[in-house]
Each structure stands twice: as structure tokens, then as C-alpha cells.
Amino acid sequence: MNTLIALIAAAGTYATVLMFGTMGEIITEKSGNLNLGVEGIMYMGGILGLVAANRYEALVGEAASNGFVAIIVAILGAFLAGAVAGLIFSFITVTLRANQNVTGLALATFGTGVAKFIGEVMRNKLGGYVSVSNHLKEAFSLKFMPKFLKDIPVIGPILFNQVHFFYIGIIFAVLLTLFLNKTKAGLYLKAVGESPVTADAAGINITLYKYLATIIGGGVSAIGGMVFTMTTAGCVWIEASLSGIGWLSVALVIFCTWKPMNSLWGSLLFGSLMIMYLWLIVPGFPTEIYKILPYIVTLTVLIITSIRNSKEKQPPASLGVNYFREDR
């Protein structure tokens, strides 16, 4: 039991990365755009968040640098990178009407390429490696909750002994759920994803919604990549370690059945599965199998929901299909 609690608590940071990656993709997919470039987007967020923090520190000097400002700068840097990637995707699929699957895969190639390239160029320029000073590193992985909360049995280590991005993620999930279900813009967005023909007839600007959702969604996913480099990877750029997180986020979107609140526990579960090989060693049971469990679980969810054909657990009806008004 204690091992399990410790495992889930430790998975929190990994889960935060997935949470942002997933919520970004949920926003995108709600508009009917299936952006398979999340892998590339999270890579770009990962490097640009780090570079932004690093440049900020170089600009004001190590002594004057402030942890809070550095976090904001890193979030903005990552968000911008993801937003640009989302813009490229929207331009090619919405305006130029290219196939979404293919464009997404091209974006995945492009994004990882850009990130690796920037990483290498920065490394050469700065000599050695790109990072930030120790007090900023601490600021990024600070677990700020008071000690008496952390000491509560069971829920203390899981809920209160986490980095601040974890809580930002939870707040964002709540806001996103409210936005999608309670605001006019949110309902319009869902209408665009479910039936663009109807939404268009109702006078909703399809192009605008698709663009905005994809750009904002890309930005949010990219923050996930930034959280990874700044916490799990310890503010150092290790390009191989980010690999696969974007695809896992795409899987998690399915697992959550496109609901932001589900992504909270879903990402904790996936995060636990991803680090379980370090914690739970059963003799004779290969630890590598743990790492494919998230995909098997997702596949099972996908199959079960399609067999049961339950209305509220389906992907947005127009997911992956471009909308041409003239084709009606």
C-alpha cells in the first residue's frame, strides 16, 4: 500500500506533463481537427521553454533573476512555440484543405527536427549544455504546499506534495470543463467539432473556431513539453527523453473520452504505469511490459466504447475530416 502511494505521488510530475499535452489536444480535437503533431509540438515546447528561461537569465543576470518571472517566461516561450505549430497546422488543413493525418505527421517530423536543431545550436553557442542556474531549477520543481498538508496520510503525498504546474493543470482542467459546457463559445466549439454543417448554418465562424482551438490547443500541449524539461529532466535538454510523450498524450485523449476532468486521473494512471518499472519489480515479469500497458488500456477503451457505441463517449463526429462549405 505504501509503495503504491509513493508510486502515485512520484508519478505526479510525469502526470502533469501528460495533463497539459492531453488537454491541449482535447481543445484541438473538440474543433474537429485531429492534430497528430503533438509529439513535435511538445518537443518544441520542451526546448523553447528552456531556451526562454535561459535567455531571460542571461538578460537580467543570475543574481537578479526571479523564479516566478522565469516560470512565466518559460510558459510563454513554450506556449508561443506550440501556438505557431498550431497555426501552421490550421493554415495547411483549414485554409489550404490538406489531409489532417498527413499534415499532423509532417508536423511531428518538423517539430522534433526544429527542437533537436535548436537544442544543438544552443549547445554549440553556449558551449556544453543549455540550462539555468540552481536557484531557478529549484523554483521550477518547488513543492510549495505547507508541510502539515503533505503529512496527511494517503492523500497528502499524492495531492499536496506536487510541483506547482500540477495545480495549474488541475485549475486549467476545471476552467476548461466549465468553458466547454457552460459558455456559449465552448458550446459553439463543440458544435463545430460535431457537425460543422449545422454550425455553419447557425452562423458560427467555422474557420475562426478551428484556427483558435488548434492554436491554443497547440500552445497548451507545448507547455506540457516545457514542464517535462524543466522538472523531470532537471532543466537540461536531453532530446531522447522526450520521445513518445506526445503520442502518449494522443492516446490519453482517447482514454479520457475527450473530457478534461478525466485527464487528471488518467494522466496519474498513465504516469504511474510509465514509472512503475522503477517501483514494482515482480520476479519473472518483464518491466518493459508496464510501458505498453497505457497503450493496451487505451486500445481496450477505444474498442469497448466503439462496441457499446455510447453517445457521450465517442470522438467528435467530424474528427479528422475537413469542412468544405462547397462540398455540401
Binding site: 499534415t103 545550436v121 492516446a251 466503439s306
Partner: protein, 363 residues
């Protein structure tokens, strides 16, 4: 409000058919645009883009040894692109080529490890090829079955299957098939499992070219190819015509997976000679873009996979000569794909500006 003011300033109209020469000019233009955009990251590193592109071309084609390496990269890319074509024709978005390649390679490796050196070379190669095709076919059949039976989203299904196959390789590499304990490396297979070379390159290139012709005939001249095309255009028409849509879907996915499996076999027996998690190296994903950009035409796939292979191989030389990071290959490939995807719009649509005369007529 008058009628004319409601006509938008710019509107789009579908073109009937563009002059093929003009369409070709647009496509070539988009490649040039991509090369210009791609020179931005090259310039950022302080290198001269003209020189850099020169190095890429020279570094992939100028010497027989470079050319051989380029062809080696192009072979699996071409084979996978061919495999994906019938699925995409059917509008079945199989993005699981990566997993089908990997699982095919796993099945072939099983026989290479257990039978290597015990039976004559042609026999073991044949067994491996068949095993790879069966393995890949199985990996393609599963999403095909669920799509046909329960309408399960195939894009997401095939995507998951990629990572399951990769996870199995990771397990085999560090577990049952591991050579020396702790190395995470499967030892090289017995020499009898190596594909023979023709003109100094593994004979996979002949297999690939033969597959190009076969796939072209399959897609354009056979009943199967016709059925696939009808399903892609209109599912209801296909059903109305009495086609067994479910079976055709599964059949096409088995075929596609089997060819991907063959690609896995070619990488394994022609180049890698062992199995590891870098075996497919994204070829299944790149092949999707190749297939789509070729408009599912088997012969154009040769050109586009060659182009991407040149960029991949050439950028390695570029890294050695000018110190430009080899990740520039991914950036240039990405931009190239964006431009080529985007340019189809200008071939399929016409941009019509509001004419003055319209106003007068309607006013």
C-alpha cells in the same frame, strides 16, 4: 443590402482539371519554395545554403558508396508507401505502418534466431519473409477487423498498435533475446540470414521495384483495386453494388500490413541484421506522407522516397563537412511536406476575385 455587396471579395471555386503541365509546374515550384524556406535554419548556423544543398546532393549521390547508402534508406520507405496506398485509397487511415514493420521484423527475427545456420540460406530467407508478411498482416488485420465490425476509429487504433509493437521489441531486446546480460542488444544473426547483394546493394531494391509494378497493376487493373476505389469514394455505393465491404476492408488491411512486414524483413535481412527498437526509425510515418504526396501513384512514390532519402543521407554528410546539425534533415523534410501538401490546394481550387461587372449586373 444589395446582392453584389454580399458576394465576397475573394471566393474559391473547384477546378475541373488543371493542365497536367501546369500542375507539375506548381508542384515543382512548391519544392523550390520549400528549399528556400529550408535554407533559413541552415543560414542560422552560419553556413551558405547553396553550398549546403550542394553538399546534401553530393553527399548522397556523388560516390557509389554514398549512393548505396541512399538507396538503402529509400528501399523500406518505398515499400511502406506502396503498402499504405490501397488503405488510403479506401479512405482507411492506416497510420500503423511503423508497428506493422516492427511486428513483421519481430516474427522474422524469431526464425532468424532459431533457424539461422541450421538450414540453407534461401530457405531461411524465405521463411523469414513469409513470417514477416504474416506478422505484419496480423498487425494490420486487427484494426481492420474492429473497423469493419464495430466502426472503431482506425487512426487511433493503428497508432496504439505501433507502440505495442515497439514495446514488444524493447522487451525482447532486454529479455529473452538479449545477448550478453545487461547489454540490451540482440546479437547479430547468422550470416545465412543476410540478403544477397546485387550491384553492391541488398537485393531489396529489386523487390521494391517489382512491388511498384505489382501494386500499380493491383490498384488500377484488378477487381480488388476497383473495389477499394469504390469504397473510398462512397461507402454506400459499394454496399448498394453488393460488395462485401467488411471483408474488403479486412483484406486490404491484411495486404497492407503484410507488405509493411516485408519492408521490416528487408530492413532486417538487408541492413540491420539484428532487431532493436530503432529498426523502423520512423519509416512507417514518413511513408504515409510519401504515399499521400504521390497521390497514391506507385511510380511517383519512387521519386518522392528517393528525394527524402537524399535529404536524410545528405544531411549526415552536411553535418560532417559544415557542422550543420543533422536534425536539419527533419526540418527540411517537414517544410517540404508542408509545401507539397499546401500546393495541392492551388491545383484543386481557383481563387476568384469579385469582378466589377458583377456589381453592375446585380445592382
Amino acid at each position: 443590402m444589395s446582392e453584389a455587396s454580399r458576394t465576397p471579395l475573394i471566393r474559391l471555386a473547384k477546378r475541373d482539371a488543371m493542365d497536367p503541365r501546369k500542375a507539375m509546374a506548381i508542384r515543382i515550384g512548391s519544392i523550390f519554395l520549400a528549399l528556400i524556406l529550408g535554407s533559413i535554419p541552415i543560414m542560422l548556423t552560419g553556413a551558405n545554403p547553396f553550398k549546403a544543398y550542394g553538399v546534401i546532393v553530393a553527399g548522397s549521390l556523388s560516390k557509389p558508396i554514398y549512393l548505396k547508402q541512399t538507396i538503402k534508406i529509400a528501399i523500406p520507405l518505398l515499400v511502406c508507401s506502396l503498402a499504405i496506398a490501397p488503405c488510403f485509397k479506401m479512405k482507411f487511415w492506416n497510420i500503423g505502418a511503423e508497428g506493422q514493420v516492427t511486428f513483421g521484423a519481430i516474427c522474422a527475427s524469431y526464425f532468424a534466431i532459431h533457424l539461422g545456420g541450421k538450414v540453407p540460406s534461401p530457405v531461411i530467407l524465405l521463411i523469414m519473409a513469409v513470417a514477416a508478411a504474416v506478422g505484419g498482416g496480423l498487425w494490420g488485420f486487427l484494426p481492420g477487423f474492429f473497423k469493419a465490425r464495430y466502426n472503431t476509429n482506425e487512426t487511433l487504433f493503428t497508432l496504439m498498435m505501433n507502440y505495442i509493437a515497439l514495446g514488444i521489441v524493447n522487451w525482447l531486446q532486454g529479455g529473452p533475446w538479449e545477448g550478453r546480460k545487461g547489454t540490451q542488444i540482440v546479437p547479430f544473426f547468422h550470416k545465412s540470414t543476410y540478403l544477397p547483394q546485387i550491384f553492391g546493394v541488398q537485393c531489396g531494391w529489386i523487390i521494391a521495384l517489382v512491388l511498384v509494378v505489382i501494386m500499380h497493376i493491383y490498384m488500377t487493373k484488378t477487381k480488388h483495386g476497383y473495389e477499394v476505389a469504390v469504397i473510398g469514394d462512397s461507402l454506400n455505393t459499394a454496399r448498394y453494388a453488393g460488395m462485401n465491404v467488411k471483408w474488403i476492408m479486412m483484406r486490404t488491411m491484411i495486404l497492407s500490413g503484410a507488405i509493411c512486414g516485408i519492408a521490416g524483413f528487408l530492413i532486417l535481412a538487408g541492413d540491420n541484421h539484428t532487431i532493436n527498437n530503432a529498426l523502423s526509425g520512423g519509416v512507417g510515418f514518413t511513408a504515409i506522407t510519401v504515399s499521400w504526396l504521390s497521390q497514391l501513384n506507385a511510380f511517383i512514390m519512387i521519386a518522392i522516397s528517393a528525394l527524402l532519402a537524399i535529404i536524410t543521407k545528405g544531411s549526415k554528410t552536411l553535418n560532417q563537412r559544415l557542422g550543420v546539425p543533422s536534425s536539419v534533415a527533419d526540418i527540411v523534410s517537414g517544410i517540404l511536406l508542408f509545401c507539397m501538401l499546401g500546393c495541392e490546394f492551388f491545383i484543386n481550387y481557383r481563387i476568384v476575385f469579385r469582378k466589377k461587372s458583377d456589381k453592375e449586373v446585380n445592382a
